[in-house]
């Protein structure tokens, strides 16, 4: 039975593109390499290693015999096993979920390139809401507020030289994911509220919420959702090393400032790599979440096959929240603007398949969106059903004349008499004097009977 290894000694003649070199047979400072650890991206890097070393240590992963045999028969690898390849890069850091754990004797350790894709069409776990949006919203508010304080504390701590507290991060993530597993819509509501003075912390938290919601939609296991959410929460941790005057600048960045901002990916990697119990994939995500499928991203200009799957997932949530937020300014753009950009940039900036899934997950009219109906009424989306995103439940707050009216809940999917009523468009928060913060503060007024059976 092979011994589990997190690194594998490889002769330089056996090196291949995509392998992550984590250690050399001599100190890094005695070599030409600027980076102490890197993914081999071209033949030149292999040649440089051959010239300067006899052997190196690369990250190892585990592949079951079953998977290896499947590959040998030419059949497509089993999807969940493919995803496991990513998780198992550092054995012992994260236990495999029960559904994919396998006996040690069925495993062998091999060196292989990073897993950068997780096709999303098979073996989805179907998560159903265990509680209504109305009931979850109260808990979600507390969770969101607590998590925002944690994120703020983490970022401020790093600024003053304190080590990143992974336990604090994991605790915040666990509460967020618990809420999303209970109900997929409540926390998404809260991401709609943007405060201009708390952008960085709020953005990290919103990306965490959106990523966890997306991961749930994709059918990941609970453990996988937690890992993805942690990566998302920490994806911008490097911004804590960006000077305040740049980070909080009102107005456009100069070219020089923009170049400094771009360094947050490298800063994030450096911060996380020095944390003893940091999840290794979180390091990759912090480093690679601005890489693009066409290779024009930063900091490394990776090609699509070199970008870790988790970074591709987080990049979508990152873009969505960045576009729907107006950094340091009032107001927020409608969700559709962000979805338009994701749709148009699919395959170029974002992974094509994931981009389409993300749009399906968010839906044309996400929870918390203010919408105008074809009958002139204005409402706020309360919840959506995956099977019919075009016909959500809506809290009507303005009548056809756009005046205040008695609030009521309409379920477009469940009421045949509303079959002619359609959603015309989403409008930004504040339109027709509708402010979703007001409705969150006072709590949703929902006919609980109409919420029965919500999925």
């Amino acid at each position: 039975m092979p011994k589990k290894l997190s690194e594998l000694k490889v002769h330089v003649s056996e090196l291949a593109l995509g392998m992550r070199v984590i250690r050399l047979d001599r100190p890094w400072l005695e070599t030409d390499f600027l980076m102490q650890g890197f993914v081999i991206q071209n033949q030149t890097e292999i040649d440089d290693l051959v010239r300067q070393c006899e052997h190196v240590y690369v990250e190892a992963t585990e592949i079951s015999k079953k998977t290896a045999h499947t590959g040998a028969t030419g059949k497509a690898p089993e999807r969940r096993t493919e995803r496991k390849g990513l998780f198992a890069r550092i054995p012992g850091k994260k236990p495999a979920p029960p559904s994919i754990a396998r006996p040690a004797k069925a495993q062998k350790t091999v060196a292989q390139p990073l897993s950068t894709s997780r096709p999303i069409s098979s073996q989805r776990i179907v998560h159903i809401n265990k509680i209504s949006t109305e009931k979850e919203l109260g808990k979600a508010r507390v969770t969101y507020t607590d998590a925002k304080q944690s994120v703020t504390s983490i970022m401020e701590g790093i600024r003053i030289g304190r080590a990143l507290d992974m336990n604090q991060s994991r605790q915040a993530v666990n509460e967020i994911v618990d809420s999303i597993i209970r109900n997929k819509d409540a926390l998404v509501w809260l991401t709609k509220i943007k405060r201009k003075d708390e952008y960085t912390a709020e953005h990290s938290l919103n990306v965490c919420v959106l990523t966890a919601t997306f991961a749930r939609y994709l059918g990941h296991s609970d453990d996988e959702i937690r890992q993805l959410a942690l990566c998302a929460l920490l994806h911008d941790v490097g911004k804590s090393k960006i000077p305040d005057e740049i980070l909080n600048k009102e107005g456009r960045f100069t070219d020089e400032e923009f170049e400094i901002m771009k360094k947050h990916t490298t800063y994030g990697r450096d911060l996380l790599i020095n944390i003893k119990d940091a999840d290794r994939i979180a390091i990759d995500v912090a480093h690679a979440h601005h890489e693009r499928m066409d290779g024009s991203g930063y900091p490394r200009g990776l090609k699509s096959h070199q970008i870790p799957y988790y970074a591709k997932v987080v990049a979508l949530a990152d873009c969505y929240d960045a576009i729907t937020s107006t950094r340091c300014y009032d107001g927020a753009r409608a969700s559709m603007s962000a979805l338009d950009i994701i749709y148009k940039c699919r395959g170029v900036q974002f992974d094509e398949e994931l981009a389409l899934e993300f749009i399906k997950c968010i839906g044309l009219f996400p929870p918390g969106a203010i919408v105008e109906l074809s009958n002139g009424e204005v409402g706020i989306i309360i919840s959506t059903r995956d099977e019919n995103k075009l016909r959500p439940k809506i809290l009507i707050v303005r009548n056809a004349a756009k005046q205040l009216c008695k609030e009521r809940v309409v379920d477009l999917a469940a009421n045949p008499e509303l079959s002619e009523v359609k959603i015309l468009r989403e409008v930004p928060n504040g339109t027709y004097s509708v402010d979703i913060r007001v409705y969150l503060k006072k709590g949703l007024v929902i006919d609980t009977a109409s919420m029965a059976g919500e999925q």
Partner: protein
């Protein structure tokens, strides 16, 4: 020059640009830059770019619309009505300066809008939510 609005100000709906919008180029003082057309109507266009442009208030935009006939739209004068720079890319809302555009070209812009609208699914913008998708 960054603006944002908490109220919907568009008089006309912006239609999602489809694959027929090609060779979309923004012309500003610093040069000509390919951009991605996001949404469109005869009054303006939304664009997105991963490049970081210097600040500008006015620009010209040109594109090719590859419909049944290929329509080359020359440099249209436009003003920036919305811009947002983010780490994921910069977003601009450009309004065509109609008084500087000849009537024939304005008619062409309207015709392009009609052709885009004709192939748009106004209820299911991305064609992902209908029962058969």
């Amino acid at each position: 020059m960054t603006q944002s609005h908490s109220h919907e100000r568009r008089a006309r709906e912006r239609l999602l640009c489809d694959a027929r919008f090609q060779k979309v180029v923004l012309h500003i003082q610093e040069g000509d830059f390919p951009v991605t057309a996001i949404n469109y109507n005869c009054a303006g266009i939304g664009i997105f770019t991963s490049q970081h442009f210097p600040e500008f208030d006015a620009a010209e935009i040109s594109f090719t619309f590859a419909g049944e006939d290929t329509i080359n739209v020359p440099s249209l004068p436009c003003k920036v009505v919305y811009s947002q720079d983010t780490e994921v890319g910069d977003q601009y809302g450009l309004s065509f300066v109609s008084r500087q555009i000849p009537q024939s070209l304005r008619d062409t812009l309207m015709r392009i809008e009609d052709m885009v609208a004709a192939q748009s699914n106004l209820e299911d913008r991305y064609g992902l939510f209908s029962p058969d998708t």
